[in-house]
Point group: C2
Chain length 197, copies 2
Amino acid sequence: MDSYHHGNLRAALLKAAFQLIGKIGPEAFTLREVARRAGVSHNAPYRHFKGKEDLLAALATDSFRQLNEAVIRGIAGAVEAPVERLRAAARAYLHFGLANRARFQAMFHSTFDRQEYADYVANYSAALTLLDGLLVECLPPGALPSEIPGQLVWASIHGITELGIAARLEDGDRERLLLLVDAAVDTLLKGLQHVRM
Amino acid sequence: MDSYHHGNLRAALLKAAFQLIGKIGPEAFTLREVARRAGVSHNAPYRHFKGKEDLLAALATDSFRQLNEAVIRGIAGAVEAPVERLRAAARAYLHFGLANRARFQAMFHSTFDRQEYADYVANYSAALTLLDGLLVECLPPGALPSEIPGQLVWASIHGITELGIAARLEDGDRERLLLLVDAAVDTLLKGLQHVRM
DNA sequence: ACCTGAACACCGTTCAAGT
DNA sequence: ACCTGAACACCGTTCAAGT
C-alpha cells in the first residue's frame, strides 16, 4: 500500500530533497519537484514545513549532523597523536564538503533565520566545539588565552574546502587539497606556538 | 529622452542588477525585475545576455575586477613594510566581502561554466597573483618551493571572509574579524618560516 | 489529521511581430 | 538593430474542499 499516511511523510520529503539536491544542486532546488519525487501533491509539504525556507533549514541542520558524524568517524580512524587526530578531522571536513557540495551550500549559504532553528545552532556549535577540543590537545597546556586559534584553524580548513568546492584552486584535485589541509594544520600549529594572541 | 537606444542598455542592466542584488541578495535575483528596473520589457536583456546565467557571469567578472581594485587601494594606503602590505590586502579582501555579500556569492558560488568566460578567469587569476606577490616579499628569499603558501594564505583569508559573511563566527563583528585576519597573516607567516613544504 | 485541485501572482525563455 | 506582447511551461503559496 501507499505509505505517507503514518507520519513518515516528513522523512520521505527530506530524503527526496537530498536526492534532488544531490542531483541538480541547491540553486535548482524546487519544492514542487520534491513533492513529486515523494509521490504526493505539490502542496502536501506544507503540512510538515512552513515553506521552502523551512525545508532548507531542516536540510542544513541534518547536513551539519552528518558533518559532525563524518568528522568523528575520521578521528576514530586516526592514531592517538593529537596532531594526527586534528589532521584526520580536517581531512574529514574537506572530504565531506567535496562529496556534498549541495549540502555544504545549504549549511553555509542559505538565508533562513538561524534564531528560529535551535537544532541548527546546536549542531553548528557542536562542530566548532569538536574542532576546538582537538586543537587544545595540540597546543602547549597553558596556551589557550582566547578563541582565536580555534577560529583560525576552522576558517582555514573551511576556506580550503570552499575554494575546493568552487574549483578555484589551480590543479585542485582531491590529493592536492588534502596536502593543502595538512599544510594548513602544520603551519598554523607551528605559527601558534610562536605568536602571542 | 529615454536612453537605452545608444548601446548602453547592457551597462544599464548591469547597474540595475547590482542595485537589485545589493538589496535583496542573489537568491532572489530575477531577470524580469532587472529589466523592470532598467525600464525595458522583460525580454530586452536577451539582446545583451544569453540568459540569466550569462548576466550572472558578467556580474561575477565585474565583481572580481572591483575586488582587485579594492585590494590595490588597500595596499596603496599601507606603509611599505611587506607584512603591512599583506595585512592591508587581507583586510581589504575581508572588507570587500562583508560589504558586498551578494557580489561575493556571485563570484564564488554561482555555477556558470568558467571555461566560457575568459574575462572572469583573467580577473580571478589576477587576484591570486596579486596576493602571491605580496606573500613572496614577506618570506625569506629562497623560500618559494611551491604554490602552497600562497594558496594557504588565500584560503585562510577567504575562509574568514566566508564565515564572516555567513555570521558563523561567534561575536563576528567587523573589528573581531579584522583581528582574526591579522592573526591569520601573522600565524601563517611565522609557521611558514618553520615548516618545510 | 492529512491530502487534493484550482487559483494567484509570479518566473525564464521563446517567437512572431513591430519600428 | 533593437525592442515589444503574447505565449509556454514552470514556480511558491494559499484556500476551499474532500476523506
